[in-house]
């Protein structure tokens, strides 16, 4: 059930990419899809009544959650930020050239 809510978030982002015509809205849709994927991977690795995967010098901690999806998502977050910055810079340059963010008006390939 909680996976399905995560999937609904993904579909909102997909709808935004497919329907909207503004470049900033498309970047926002990509970012929402990123969020849903991070949440989905972490939800798969969660254990019931789990603890954070950090050892303590005082006591021995049982029932840790899975550290592998957390490590993968940690790299994915920074890559998402880099991709977002690249998309924003391309959008800013397109605005500089055409004076609009609307993708239906950006048609000329040259000049």
């Amino acid at each position: 059930m909680i996976y399905l809510l995560c999937f609904v978030l993904f579909c909102i982002g997909l709808y935004c990419i497919l329907v909207k015509k503004n470049l900033i809205k498309i970047i926002i849709g990509i970012s929402i899809i990123d969020y849903s994927l991070y949440l989905f991977l972490i939800l798969i690795g969660y254990r019931m009544q789990g603890r954070a995967p950090i050892h303590s010098p005082v006591q021995r901690i049982e029932n840790m959650v899975d550290p592998l999806p957390q490590a993968l998502v940690l790299t994915a977050i920074v890559i998402g930020l880099a991709v977002l910055a690249l998309l924003i810079s391309i959008a800013v340059r397109l605005y500089d050239k055409y004076g609009t963010f609307d993708i239906t008006k950006i048609r000329k390939l040259k000049g």
């Binding site: 059930m1 909680i2 996976y3 809510l5 995560c6 999937f7 978030l9 579909c11 909102i12 997909l14 709808y15 935004c16 497919l18 015509k21 503004n22 900033i24 809205k25 926002i28 929402i32 969020y35 991070y38 949440l39 972490i42 939800l43 798969i44 690795g45 969660y46 254990r47 019931m48 009544q49 954070a52 995967p53 950090i54 050892h55 303590s56 010098p57 840790m64 959650v65 899975d66 550290p67 592998l68 957390q70 490590a71 993968l72 998502v73 940690l74 790299t75 977050i77 920074v78 890559i79 998402g80 930020l81 880099a82 991709v83 977002l84 910055a85 810079s89 959008a91 340059r93 963010f101």
Partner: protein, 181 residues
């Protein structure tokens, strides 16, 4: 269906519904600046969800990255004159997108039933990491030991992607070598 104990249900379901509402607001608002701020709200909700799901490393990283995202997006939208967004809706595009999303959601529903239920993951590789991570690497934080010791190639690839992205941004935005008008 999967069984969720009361504590996680009370904490997680309102957060997810809040994130979905923030995403809907971000998609459907006319003003670009409010849309960007709504995306920031969704990201902060994701950060709190990471904290509930016992991933404090990710909570710190997501919080900080979200602030930087917000600064960059506001920088991209502010001082730009925004044309009116509603110039007649394209119904063919809307209907085809909705049909595609519905097909995707139904396939996802059938695929998600095959996953392990929430709270009981398969721990194959992770058992090795959990049992021997401290003695093999000496790092108390197991996530750091996974990203920098067991799976260092991932981090090397990530550094390459970041380097390429920085180069791309500077090449796209620079002024030297452009044709002056």
């Amino acid at each position: 269906m999967d069984f969720v104990t009361l504590q996680e249900a009370v904490q997680l379901y309102p957060l997810l519904i809040f994130m979905i509402l923030a995403a809907v607001v971000a998609v459907e608002t006319k003003d670009l600046l409010s849309s960007v701020i709504a995306v920031g709200a969704a990201g902060l909700g994701l950060s709190v969800a990471f904290l509930i799901l016992k991933a404090p490393d990710l909570a710190i990283t997501q919080l900080v990255v979200e602030i930087l995202c917000l600064i960059l997006l506001i920088r991209a939208t502010i001082k730009r004159d925004i044309p009116s967004l509603n110039r007649g809706t394209d119904y063919a595009r809307l209907i085809s997108a909705l049909i595609f999303v519905l097909i995707f959601l139904s396939f996802g529903y059938f695929a998600l039933r095959e996953l392990p239920p929430f709270g009981k993951p398969y721990l194959k590789v992770a058992t090795e990491y959990l049992n021997q991570g401290l003695s093999k690497t000496g790092a108390a934080n197991l996530v750091t030991s996974v990203i920098l010791d067991f799976r260092g190639y991932d981090t090397l690839g990530e550094a390459t992607v970041l380097f390429t992205a920085v180069m791309g941004v500077i090449v796209v935005l620079r002024k030297i070598g452009r044709i002056k008008k």
